[in-house]
């Protein structure tokens, strides 16, 4: 009996974890299984090659067919995920990415401010993206106001309501 439990526990854990992962997966499923690790480490692209506005504007931008089309246009590719990209590209149709990190319209967040001026690494706010083989399902941190305020307090940045709200 003891042994059965010993051997079964990992199995149960795996089943439970798969349940959790696939459960959250269903909440938000990206149209294509995008692989950050492959595109940054193997293809050698930099974050800003795809998220082209991240240094100069408030929005980073999620790249779409204009960017992907440079390298993928085969809708018949035997790799199903690549074929999907090719198909969007050849149909000239936008890939309907779902934005995972979102602040509401009444708050002002700017990437230029944090990436270029404050020189904060992407990882601080988004995690080890270059190790991710699957697309984003949930944000790396809950983007609550206290998260912004706490870092601002530590970094001695203004926390006046009117500097963020609009």
């Amino acid at each position: 009996m003891k042994n059965t439990i010993k051997y079964l526990t990992p199995v149960i854990l795996v089943i439970a974890l798969t349940g959790i992962i696939s459960g959250t997966n269903q909440d938000v499923r990206q149209p294509i299984s995008f692989n950050h690790k492959l595109h940054t480490e193997e293809v050698g692209l930099a974050c800003v090659d795809c998220h082209s506005n991240v240094e100069k504007h408030s929005r980073a931008l999620i790249p779409n067919i204009e960017t992907c089309g440079d390298c993928h246009d085969d809708a018949e590719d035997e790799n199903r995920e690549k074929a999907k990209v090719g198909s969007y590209v050849s149909r000239n149709e936008k890939i309907p990415w779902i934005q995972i990190h979102v602040v509401p319209d009444h708050a002002y967040f700017s990437h230029r401010r944090h990436v270029t001026l404050a020189k904060i690494e992407c990882q601080t706010c988004h995690g080890e993206v270059s190790e991710m083989e699957r697309p984003f399902i949930i944000p790396f941190v809950e983007l609550e106001m206290s998260w912004c305020i706490n870092c601002h307090e530590k970094s001695k940045v203004v926390n006046d309501c009117n500097s963020c709200h609009r």
Partner: protein, 227 residues
């Protein structure tokens, strides 16, 4: 630190209402229907008050553009139970929309009636909905709103100046009404900077503020008409 203020020259104002339109578009101010409007639910952050003088045919019409007067001693902030409205460090009477509980005390306290209440979920005619300004939130029903001196423009202007490693320059931050006025009747800037246009204008003998006797100390000044 700057102290933002505005001077409106009534001698230059023609009452064309370009400022009203510019403001409404810039700030995603909701459009209400005719019936709601008749109930006094029109939403305007910048309004033009009209005043008729004399007997026909010797009449004269006077116009007075009226944004939030951004008082240095604001009656509205004192009655807010949740500090959704307060005087910010640069003299702007802030209105933090998600903090507002819709009690409307501030509306009752404002002697200039500059605040509007969102009776309805925001709504725009189809043609306008696509043209909403992404830099400004759409206020939900149940929230009080008013002119913010286009504070979203200040947020962006500061970031631009910081990214070029310099101070904010004169006229780099101006609200939409001042920018769009075709007769340049509206000046805007730092009242504490000795050489800004506004600080020079407020030394004019024509200067006055609305309901001065209340002690609200508005930072929106007017230059009287030259008769």
């Amino acid at each position: 630190m700057a102290r933002w203020g505005m001077v409106i020259d009534l001698n230059k104002c023609t009452g064309c209402a370009e400022c009203v339109t510019a403001c409404k578009v810039e700030n995603n101010v909701a459009v209400v229907g005719k019936d709601e409007s008749e109930m006094g639910r029109t939403m305007l952050w910048m309004d033009i008050l009209t005043h008729y003088e004399g007997e026909y045919p010797n009449t004269k019409v006077r116009y007075l553009p009226r944004p939030c007067l951004q008082c240095d001693n604001p009656p509205c902030t004192k009655v807010c139970p949740v500090r959704a409205t307060y005087l910010d460090p640069e003299g702007i009477v802030a209105q933090i929309f998600p903090q507002c509980i819709g009690c409307r005390y501030c509306m009752a306290a404002c002697p200039y009636t500059v605040k509007s209440f969102n009776w309805y979920e925001p709504h725009w005619p189809q043609e306008m909905a696509a043209a909403l300004n992404p830099d400004v939130s759409a206020r939900p029903a149940g929230v009080v709103e008013k002119c913010t001196f286009c504070v979203h423009r200040l947020q962006k202007a500061k970031e631009q100046a910081d990214s070029e490693n310099r101070e904010l320059q004169d006229n780099e931050y101006i609200p939409a009404c001042a920018e769009d006025c075709p007769t340049q009747a509206i000046s805007f800037g730092d009242l504490d900077s000795p050489h800004s246009e506004v600080s020079e204008l407020i030394r004019s003998p024509r200067i006055f503020t609305l309901l001065e006797e209340l002690g609200t100390e508005p930072k929106v000044y007017y230059l009287s008409e030259i008769e």
